[in-house]
Amino acid sequence: MAGKALKRMVKLDVNGTCYERELEPRDLLVHVLRDELGLTGTHIGCDTSQCGACTVLVDGEAVKSCTMLAVQAEGCSVTTVEGLGKMGALHPIQEGFWEEHGLQCGFCTPGVMMAAVGLLAQYREPTEEQIREGLEGVMCRCTGYQNIVRAVANAAERIKATESAEIQAAVAHVGERS
């Protein structure tokens, strides 16, 4: 029968939770995330890996989940927008997007944010050119990208500020002990 194959049990680690599901080898990671695990924050915008709305992190790297089979993600750690941060404890990238109006309809936003998190892991203080280069694989039809670029720069600043605050706190702590 066309396209049908035996299902098998697949273990997936998504946002720190381990899931076991019976899947067809042809099942795409994005479909499994959305339809099997109910993680609908990851979106599908094109089916041909151009738009990047489905971008998630696989072992910390930005991956378009419409181009990856779920079985290929076995043994990897997958992070989706639902694992990024929550209200009251938002990830700096979410704060940056909110503050800089980096989103309008919000459909591409989870994918763009995941791509940006991948980018920020690579560049601590990215230049505008590096941000634009790093986000070339994600498409947004609403914002014209300008506020997205600002949002990523904003997030980089936030991460840097948090880190330096942590270092200062650690230094102060050392000072107290001595």
Partner: protein, 789 residues
Amino acid sequence: MTVRFEQSKPQFTGARVERAEDARLLTGRARYLDDLDFPGTLEVAFVRSTHAAAKLVSVHAEAASRMPGVRMVWTAADIHVTLDSPEFGVNQPVLAKDEVRYVGEPVVAIFADSRYAAEDAADTVEVTYADLPPVLHIREALQAETRRVHAERPNVMYHQEYQTDGFEEAFGNALHHLSATFTLHRQTAVPMETRGCMAAPDGATNRLHVYVSHQSPHGFRADLCKFLGVPEHAVRVIVPEVGGAFGIKAMFYPEYVVVALAALRLRRPVKWIADRSECLLADCHARDGIHDVDVAFDGDGRILALRDHLMGDSGAYPAVPFCGSIGETSLAARMLTGPYKIPHLSFTIDCTYSNKAPLGAYRGVWGPPASFVQEGVVDRVARALHKDPVAVRRINLLQPEDFPYRTASGFVYDPGSYAESLETALELVDYDGFRKRQREDRSRGVYRGIGISVFVEPTAMAASEAGDIPYEAATVRMEPTGTVTAALGLGPSGQGHETTMAQLIADELGVDVRDVVVLHGDTDSAPYGGGTGGSRSGTIGGGAALTAGRKLRDKLLALAAHLLEADVADIELKDGAAHVAGVPAQRLTVQQLATAAYTDVNRLPEGMKPGLEVMARYQPTRPITFSNGTHIAVVDVDVATGQIQTVDYVVANDCGVLINPTIVEGQIHGGVAQGIGEALLEELKYDTEGQLTTVSLSDYLLPTTHDIPNIRIRHLVTPSESKGGFKGMGEGSLIAAPAAVVAAVSDALEPFGVMVSSMPVTPDQVLEWIDADQEKKVDSVDSKVYFEN
């Protein structure tokens, strides 16, 4: 009283309030259509025509019915609904019957347990076609001997003529004339969320619940009920989060009828989500027009008369409820003189059927073509007279003393900052400095050009792609806790109405913006309204929010005055409380007032009804309010590779009073990006057989981060007469941008005698021009001597 209240404003109106929507959008908690799921939902796959024009010889779907997971298969024999367009005498069967008229037309619908199963079954369907000669070009369709797309109707489906009195004389007497043909290729909106629809019979109410990614909840319900033949109270339309719309989601499509009828037939939820190929094939398309233009002008560059033969390709059927070709051409014709004082206008409009997808709305609709023509004309006059394009604009632009201004087509412009917007944008971009640098650049073989687009945007029109609803409605209810629930008939898709409408209502009621929740998109909760389209929501919807808010405020003031034993004129309402002017201690919180209004009704003043809930409709006094502004683009053209890069972009924008500048700027950014796409990248290409060859985003090119520069914006404010002083602004940036970008390309390639007359401009086109750069230079004003692509 009013004055005192106004003094405490604005707290939120005009402020850069962060969006309420973003909390759910940023955390993955938003629910778009495909995120909704009900137990037992069937999914749909459509088998679509692979032929542009053909008789359907046979459709064999029996094998599909026997495939695992398949619950039902429909062909035209099973569903007899047609999308009727009585005014054209043409009806589209929701599944093609006897004949297919465009590639992508739905032929068979397969309902299965999953989309995977439905698609597997779709592969087994066998359709036999007998080809007919496809009609693919407007000029061809205009010929009487061309095969008719609809045998019973002529291919010319719309014709209109108009001419100002004295046109021929003014045109004939002018010193100079030139002619040009402007061509706009096919495009479509491509919202990142594809189109879709889910229908679910509701056991509790015995109604049909229809979830759809759409811009006009009530308009959609009206169309669906009309085609299904059911009364409107039997259908509840719910528009979930919408991932971009841009006009294509203001349209009604055959798939929606199929989904709704299948749900009724099977008594279970049925869902269809378009994949991207389906969107490119079967979302409504846009543009695809030709303008044959003649212009008469004097030696100073003053434009005296303009003539245009506008031709629009309607596709195979008039899109419901808005035929795009007619919308694009008829409004373009009337807006053709734009911000310029051109006294004489003559136009002829012809719209024709073709074997291509139906043409509907895409942001800006008529605007990008009209701006392209209007600014193209000005630039051609300037080049013909060896004048700077700015000088010719200054001579022709409407000045402050000209308002209100009646155009040659009879529109009356309300006041705007037309001339000021040009000067502001020139200053922002440092135009004079640019011209100096440009000469040096050219001597180094660097071709950098600058393009100007001064635009007028008719907004908040009584009729648009959002329908013929000239008003909007809002309900505003203060709950017993003092918080506020409002509902509007709008259909936002990223414009942030939950925030902007809350800003307006919060200011009226003197409460925190976070204490106002704005509902929309559900015909059960929203008052009947027109939805979102035609840049109407801020002006008409905002006016409705203000009207309802003001009505509720008046009641709160009267109640507070009674309870505080003060004159109503002395009551101030702000920061969540009503107090007597000058006596801050004498106060009641809105919560205390609300509690009294609902539960302590014996304390209400005589004649006051319990509760704090109002509904109000707002219809602007003017049928249209006109926004305006100027865009200037700077592009680099690499004459070795043909690549065009937009390197700088400035906007001076006047949309009257701003509700939220951050949101306005976001709209401008996005519109400019779409405009750069329209000018340089996006084209739906049909081959000679009528096959669409651009069916994925690897062929249909959208702008990416590298295509869009940072945009510098300056706001000008000429308030409208509308309540609040707002003007619409959702489309102006896309209306203006393509003209600015192609003008910049023309300017960059001026040494090669190039004047762009077709969009999009591609690297191949640039290289052709460079290769063909022969001795053709502009040397006389009356002859058409520069290239027309």
